[in-house]
């Protein structure tokens, strides 16, 4: 697939504070999740690729065109910042139409686009209240609305789910998925890893101003050799099953859950392990309820790469 | 042999059944006041007048001893209720009190509003009454050090220097006047400061209000008097009102030719209004959201 966003040696520091250091990557269309601890450089990265700040070193380009100071590209980007940034005394409606005016839309188009965006985030009923009186969830949805109103091809959302209730989260996640199916590029950051997982398998992990990992979660997991895979088997007789595995050299560790109904096997060769498993189950007639990989998920990837 | 396992541990102490649940609020309030910049400098300075007046009492006794050296009787340094009134009620002392309450009182409630900490207080077994009481006691502490304590010390020292009870017998009501006036002026300032402190989340703004209202009420009173030549306009001035009542308590001539109880009424009305607003303000926070 052709990349939409491309950065080369992108670096940014504020005085002597490191923002981002030497980031070269390509982002394709679809959803990409950005994650990392506080202060890792996520917001800096998002601001750099949306052309809001100038990199100290390196370039960032959208479809081959450099983004910095290239305002023609901006009408193609929607950005939802992490912090609140409103004109508090405007109403939601004035805020939206005012921003749309900056894109040189005609008055009628401004209104129709503002209405459409506010309807998507379900703020039409409250459009004539001033923003000061909005709740945290409403502010969040208004931020999303202003990011999508001008129908951009690239949508960058910094913590869009923060402060939303479960229904709000569900709706925004669905919205993001719709945009994906329309072929747009969505870059979304979140601190809640299961939510990222619910949206995409493709992630960028930023830590200490650098890219620690990029790509498919499971692929990244396989690359982490320091931590052997753990497989959990919930079954009728975990000790019997364990006794069969314990002789195999690809099994490094065998553990039982406190409830005595689950076997946890640590292995450095999942292929051999999984080949052996079904015949053993059949041969010894073990009732298996579940087979899962508890550390083949985003949380584990994050912990292994970032954790202390 | 015992081990301490990781994880949450219980506290095995007993709760006290405190008779004064508000006392920690006061203690921390006083402690924090002393941590303020400049306060360590200003507080000793605010006690200087008391030292000077105390010296005056001492000198006055010595003067009696050497009276024969003067031809005429000495009109100054007579220790009588007027001397007490001069210390407790005159402009300079009221001004010092305003400065001190700005330091100790401006942030009392406004800081709690700013940092949402009211809910931390009220999640504890505290009643609203306890909260106000604890906060008020901070102001009371500092103002009593400026009024009640020196006033009583003056009387005692006078008796000691004179070596007789003659002074006490001439003005037996003076200790009561000192106590009554201290309570009066402290109560007023407490309401005044807590009320203004609950109006804003910004302590500096509150400090400006405390100082500004005190000063401008005085200026306006004077301006209106100049214009209309009507003494009732001095009722606008907080300072004038306090001094009217103070003069009455020390049975001196009131500085303005209007009845002192009008001033008392004005001040009481301000306190009642302040109390009502405070009650509403602090409840308002509980309901937010």
């Amino acid at each position: 697939m052709k990349s939409v966003i491309e950065t080369e040696h992108l670096s940014k520091w504020y005085g002597n504070v490191l923002g981002l250091s030497d980031v070269s990557l390509q982002i394709e269309s679809g959803i990409t999740g950005i994650l990392g601890p506080n202060g890792a450089g996520k917001s800096t990265f998002l601001k750099l690729i949306s052309g809001q700040i100038k990199p100290n070193i390196g370039t960032s380009a959208i479809k081959g065109e450099r983004i910095w100071n290239n305002y023609r590209l901006f009408s193609n980007i929607g950005f939802c910042p992490e912090q609140d940034a409103f004109y508090e005394d405007l109403t939601g409606w004035q805020f939206m139409t005012g921003l749309l005016r900056l894109f040189h839309f005609s008055p009628s188009e401004r209104e129709s686009r503002a209405r459409e965006a506010l309807e998507i985030v379900e703020l039409m009923e409250d459009k004539d209240r001033i923003i000061k009186s909005y709740s945290r969830g409403m502010r969040q949805r208004l931020k999303v609305a202003q990011a999508i109103a001008h129908d951009p091809e690239i949508i960058i959302l910094d913590e869009p789910l923060n402060g939303l209730d479960p229904l709000g989260r569900r709706k925004i996640i669905r919205l993001i998925k719709t945009y994906k199916s329309e072929g747009r590029t969505i870059i979304v950051s979140s601190h809640v890893l299961p939510e990222i997982e619910a949206m995409t398998k493709r992630i960028i992990l930023i830590h200490q101003g650098k890219i620690f990992a990029q790509g498919d979660i499971h692929y990244i997991r396989d690359l982490i050799e320091a931590h052997p895979h753990i497989v959990s088997v919930k079954c009728s007789d975990p000790r019997q099953l364990a006794s069969k595995f314990i002789q195999e050299d690809f099994v490094l560790n065998v553990n039982f859950s406190s409830a005595e109904d689950t076997l946890l096997v640590e292995t450095n060769n999942r292929d051999k392990f999984f080949s052996l498993l079904p015949p053993l189950i059949v041969k010894h007639n073990i009732e298996v309820e579940e087979i899962t990989s508890p550390d083949d998920n985003l949380q584990a990837v994050f912990d292994y790469l970032v954790g202390k | 042999m015992t081990i301490k396992e990781k994880g949450y541990t219980h506290w095995d102490g007993e709760f006290l059944d405190k008779k004064l649940p508000w006392w920690p609020i006061t203690r921390y309030g006083i402690k924090l006041t002393f941590r303020k910049k400049f306060f360590k400098l200003i507080f000793p300075m605010s006690l200087l007048p008391a030292v000077v007046f105390l010296a005056g009492i001492y000198v006055s006794e010595r003067l009696e001893d050497f009276k024969f050296m003067f031809r005429e009787s000495v009109p100054f340094l007579q220790i009588n209720p007027a001397y007490f009134k001069t210390y407790l009620v005159d402009n300079f002392m009221l001004f010092i009190m305003v400065i001190i309450v700005i330091f100790c009182g401006a942030g009392l409630i406004s800081d709690d509003l700013k940092h949402n900490s009211l809910q931390l207080y009220f999640a504890r077994p505290l009643k609203k009454r306890d909260y106000f009481f604890g906060k008020t006691a901070v102001i009371v502490f500092f103002l009593f050090i400026l009024t009640l304590v020196p006033g009583l010390v003056f009387i005692i020292m006078k008796l000691i220097f004179a070596g007789s009870f003659k002074f006490f017998l001439s003005y037996p009501w003076l200790p009561l006047a000192v106590i009554g006036y201290s309570i009066f002026v402290t109560a007023f300032f407490s309401f005044y400061v807590l009320f203004l402190s609950s109006l804003s989340k910004n302590r500096r703004y509150v400090a400006i209000l405390i100082f500004g209202i005190y000063l401008f009420s005085d200026i306006f009173g004077a301006v209106f008097y100049e214009y209309f030549h009507n003494h009732y306009f001095s009722l606008i001035s907080l300072r004038a009102n306090i001094q009217q009542v103070g003069a009455f308590i020390f049975s001196q001539k009131t500085p303005y030719p209007i009845p002192w109880f009008y001033s008392l009424l004005v001040l009481t009305a301000i306190c009642v209004l302040a109390g009502l607003v405070l009650k509403k303000k602090v409840r308002g926070v509980e309901i937010v959201k």
Partner: protein
Amino acid sequence: MSIEVKDIHFSYGKIKALDGVSLDLSQGAIGLLGPNGAGKSTLIRIMLGFLSPDGGEGRILDYDIKSQQAEIRRYVGYMPEDDCFIPELDAVSFTSYLGELSGMPRQEAMKRAHEVLYYVGLEESRYRKVETYSAGMKLRLKLAQSLVHDPKLIFLDEPTSGLDPQGRTEILELIIDISSKKDIQVLISSHILPDIEMTCSYVVILNKGIVVSEGEISKLKEIRDLYEIKVMGEAQVFLRKLKDLKCRVEETEDGILKVYTPPNYNRQEFFRIAAEEKIQLRHFVRSQSSLEDLFAEAVGVD
């Protein structure tokens, strides 16, 4: 029973916040869920005695919510949602100050303040002034002050909001540890369903001022005749054999097979086929409704 409320009503002027809430809870960790404006905060405020209900009655830790509010607050810990602290105090003074306000003797409060600050992981910065703390540290401090008087019941309002993944895991682990003590009960109100799923065994879902669903999470979840399987090897052979057994199979975009099994299907068949055809089963789970599904169903959206 630590939380026992009956038919609680409350309104702010004309707006009804709670419209007949009854709860009877004594489990370890309870999740309180609901959309914005469902009445969660109001309910917590009533249970803490901040607000008096317009109607209904209740007992918290066997103290009456109308007449014994001071007693309730002595034995209950509360971690508010918004940022709150007392400026110019260091963390130890702050925590012990609030302990004293709960009625702890001064020296004991100081001792205990150090203990809980260690517990929440603020040991290195406990002499720093609170206003210099980062958002994550302030959150830990809020947790510490809710624990200082060793409460029997703790209300946590959005305990992980704004935390990064590491901080979130650490706080959740603390909550799990606290609620594993048999004599402490924890009630967590949160918008982040995975957090609730990780820490709580029981949920109460509020919507528009009434309880729309409550119970053990594991029992509320509906088990379906549907298996989610991920295979490696000859997937087509596996699919064909399953179809022979009258299973309906769907394939999702991330490579998971959703297998709808017919009635009286023997689960062992999966493994028999896999063993015969030398296919690996990398993932094998019987599908359940998620907490998010439960939530959406309870508040009536799709």
